[in-house]
């Protein structure tokens, strides 16, 4: 049973991620709406890159949250990250080699999405393994 105290603890644990994520989404909307109107101007570049400021804080948040994990949770996350990293590398190398025979190369956003998806799969696999 999850009681109120534990829900509060979990909410407190993910707070370093929530604030930058909300800021990122807000600034992303600003960038998507305003940057195309200022194409090839200094302000255009600045506005287009605005969402990356909370993005940097998100990195700090991820490190902070990972420090609150216990030893088994860290092991699961490490194994999931290793699985995701290596599998994505194999996928990339495969696409690189297939490029020799004219197969189009995947876009970076697709590669990143695959990496995130594999991280989630690895996390579920780890949770199942140590259940």
């Amino acid at each position: 049973m999850i009681d109120g105290k534990r829900i509060k603890q979990r909410a407190k644990r993910i707070r370093p991620l929530l604030i930058p994520l909300v800021l990122y989404l807000g600034l992303l909307i600003v960038a998507v709406m305003w940057a195309p109107k200022m194409e090839n101007t200094i302000w255009g570049y600045v506005i287009a890159l605005l969402p990356m400021i909370p993005g940097l804080f998100l990195t700090v948040g991820i490190v902070k949250v990972s420090r609150t994990l216990d030893e088994m949770e860290r092991r699961i996350l490490l194994e999931a990250a290793a699985f995701s990293f290596i599998f994505t590398l194999i996928l990339l190398l495969s696409f690189g080699l297939l490029g020799l025979v004219g197969i189009p190369q995947p876009r970076p956003v697709i590669i990143f999405s695959i990496m995130c998806f594999l991280l989630v799969i690895g996390k579920f696999w780890g949770n199942w393994r140590y259940r």
Binding site: R6, D70, E71, M72, E73, R75, N127, R129, Y130, R131
Partner: protein, 66 residues
């Protein structure tokens, strides 16, 4: 590695979450240790020994590998 964690916990009427709170780990970690799926680090094993006021070798049995 086999251990007596489940028995020791039951003797004190603690849930896995209670024990996890006392040791600063998650309920899932306690469950994995009790089921022999995960062997705790030495610092965590010492914490357990201090909590149950008994030597580590009375909680964990290193002779039986699963």
């Amino acid at each position: 590695m086999k251990n007596r964690l489940r028995v020791l916990r039951a003797e004190r009427n603690w849930s896995q979450a209670d024990l996890g709170d006392r040791l600063g780990v998650s309920r899932q970690t306690i469950n994995a240790i009790e089921n022999g799926k995960y062997d705790p680090s030495l610092p965590l094993a010492f914490k357990m020994a201090a909590l149950f006021k008994m030597p580590i070798e009375e909680i964990f049995d290193p002779s039986v590998e699963e």
